[in-house]
């Protein structure tokens, strides 16, 4: 029985966590994710959860403690943003290599400098190769739903990898939206008890975690992580199907919005997808064949499915809310273009850098991009493929 409520994205995540009732939650505040541990601390203070909440002295320590807790056999997580994630960078790799299925509620924010507290994806894009599963949300509802599904994916015996549940700083973390919450019992039942196979606090069998591994084993360790990643797509889809059964809300690896006969498509991640949908609806009314492919699962990258979904598209704009400093585009651009290349796609593709440091994206901006795509297709030439949206030159 779903409950309707008006919540910010941070509050929605905190409520999902209360319903999950994890074992250990170490945290250090950073805007705009601070409210997540704040709300959660009040749940602890009022006896609504029996989680061990550890208010540590830095993000490096919050991830370190989450790793220790997970290795010990507990369901653990932390929350952060921006520089907090950057400070954890080393630990992200260690969590993944130890095959620890812990969660990170990430509220995307620009990296310094200049220091900026608003949304872009430079923080999580910097962590894209760390061996974590990354799932992104367009709105508060998706952030909540993704959090509820997180441990089912991460802890799956064929996966056993850490998972990052991302949402856009302020745009969804602080904006209040109408949404539906599941009943506490439904979530508890859906997530289930954590039953680790090997862990430090197993009285039957001690365990050693975090070895020194030289050239004779290191590569196999990395390959084993990649093996876990290979199973993620299937697990994500299975968990989503089960989740649809209790929530009525359907999720996939990505959302294809009005893509059936689309000739011009935008590929993007996060909240700006909502703006793009508005532009699409408006253009569709004018008879334009436009659509959106909104990435939900970014790591691992479902390249084949994405290329398949873009089949038949004449021109595509890949939108990156992070710079890559490659001189030819951002990380999503590189991934999507590689997917198109492998699929021998004939689509003309351009890559836009947009929305850095919270720069607003308007419906008209997206309409302009579709107009540009139409022109590119007519010209048969993509022109400059590395572009900026809404920059003052």
């Amino acid at each position: 029985m779903a409950k309707r409520d008006r919540l910010s994205g941070n509050e929605a995540i905190a409520i999902a966590l209360r319903q999950i009732n994890p074992d250990v939650f170490p945290a250090f505040p950073i805007t705009p994710s601070t409210e997540i541990p704040q709300y959660f601390a009040s749940f602890v203070a009022n006896g609504q959860v029996d989680t061990e909440f550890i208010p540590v002295e830095s993000e490096h320590s919050s991830m370190s403690a989450a790793i220790g807790a997970s290795a010990a056999g507990a369901r653990s997580l932390t929350a952060t943003s921006s520089c907090g994630l950057a400070y954890m960078w080393e630990e992200l790799y260690i969590a993944a290599s130890n095959r620890l299925p812990l969660a990170l509620a990430l509220v995307n924010r620009a990296l310094s400098g200049p220091i900026n507290i608003n949304c872009d994806h430079s923080d999580s894009m910097g962590a894209r190769d760390a061996g974590w599963i990354q799932i992104y949300a367009e709105n508060n509802q998706e952030a909540y739903d993704n959090m509820v599904q997180a441990y089912r994916i991460a802890e799956h015996e064929s996966v056993r990898l850490p998972i990052m549940i991302c949402q856009d700083g302020f745009i969804t973390s602080h904006a209040v939206e109408n949404m539906e919450l599941l009943e506490d019992e439904e979530v508890k039942k859906f997530v289930g008890e954590y039953q680790p196979e090997n862990y430090l606090l197993n009285p039957e069998c001690p365990m050693a975690v975090g070895p020194y591994s030289i050239t004779d084993y290191y590569m196999e360790a990395k390959r084993s992580q990649a093996e876990g990643m290979r199973h993620v797509e299937e697990v994500v889809l299975n968990v989503a199907e089960e989740f649809a059964g209790i929530s009525g809300r359907e999720y996939g690896l990505f959302e294809a919005y009005r893509m059936e006969d689309a000739e011009y498509a935008v590929v993007m991640i996060g909240s700006a997808a909502g703006t793009t949908k508005d532009a699409i609806d408006k253009l569709r009314e004018q008879g334009e064949k436009v659509g959106l492919l909104k990435i939900r699962l970014y790591r691992p990258f479902p390249a084949e499915a994405i290329a398949q979904a873009l089949k038949g598209v004449k021109a595509v704009a890949v939108m990156d809310r992070a710079e890559g400093y490659t001189n030819h585009g951002g990380p999503l651009g590189a991934d999507v273009m590689a997917a198109l290349y492998r699929a021998r796609s004939q689509a003309l593709a351009v890559n836009y850098i947009y929305g850095l440091g919270g720069r607003d994206v308007r419906v008209e901006d997206m309409e302009g991009i579709f107009a540009t795509l139409k022109q590119i297709a007519a010209d048969g030439d993509a022109g400059e493929t590395y572009r900026y949206l809404g920059i003052r030159e």
Binding site: V24, E52, H60, A69, A71, P203, A208, G210
Partner: protein, 311 residues
Amino acid sequence: MSYNFKETMSKPERLAPGHRMCAGCGGTIAVRNVLRGLHEGDKAVIGNATGCLEVSTFTYPYTAWEDSYIHNAFENAGATLSGVEGAYRALKRKGKLDETYKFITFGGDGGTYDIGFQSLSGAMERNTDMVYVCYDNGAYMNTGIQRSSATPMYADTTTTPVGSVSNGKPQNRKDLAAIIAAHDVPYVAQTTFIGNFKDLHVKSEKAIYTPGAAFLNIMAPCPRGWRYNTPDIMEICKLGVETCYWPLFEVEEGKWILNYEPKKKLPIEDFLKPQGRFKHLFKKGNEYLIEEFQKEVDRRWEELQFRCSRG
């Protein structure tokens, strides 16, 4: 606490032989003796900062640790064990675990005084129920004898080399035991390898079984870095204590206790002389450096005596 040397030394080893630490390594002696402080039957999770100890005792696929063990990174042994201890509390609260576990983490002075200082400070300030053991050999030995904030003044290290215009490390060492005591934790002690190891054993047991955060600072000589005759480790430690370079003390619930006062305080030369890292101090014309060193030892010793006299 009654102490029986033979009985204590006959306890089953919790750090198994066959690891790859150097012969005569002080770190290993520290670890084996701290672990003897655990009561038989009690389980433990051992944490470890990156360093010689980690890379030499847990080289995949072999581990020398009989207990559960976690190495995370260089600078976060304190936070990592905080998480493990948090998991223990949570699992106990949820009725998922019956057994009693103790939490002990080891770090060298690099992982403790320097890069891991913040993580250690946080774990201590939160009064995490764990013992943090620093095996202090006064330099970054794993990477090849670079100076640390635990390196004594004038020591010749690879980043404070003695040269035509350098007398080794210019600065004095950080007093970490006092800094941790200032965190107001229930138990802090400084010790080393003395006589029948009673001091180290008693302090280890006390640290392990004191509820809340405890910190042990153990002078653990490194024959490679200090350049003394390897078999002389016990003599070196004794000289450290008899010259008052490394006093034995405890801070229990804020009360400072001096555990040993030499009948006749030996001159610091006696401690410095057998060590190659201080060889340059004994060159003609460098007498003033030894005088400076002695002054610093005296100042600290008096400060400690004052603290302990106040109780």
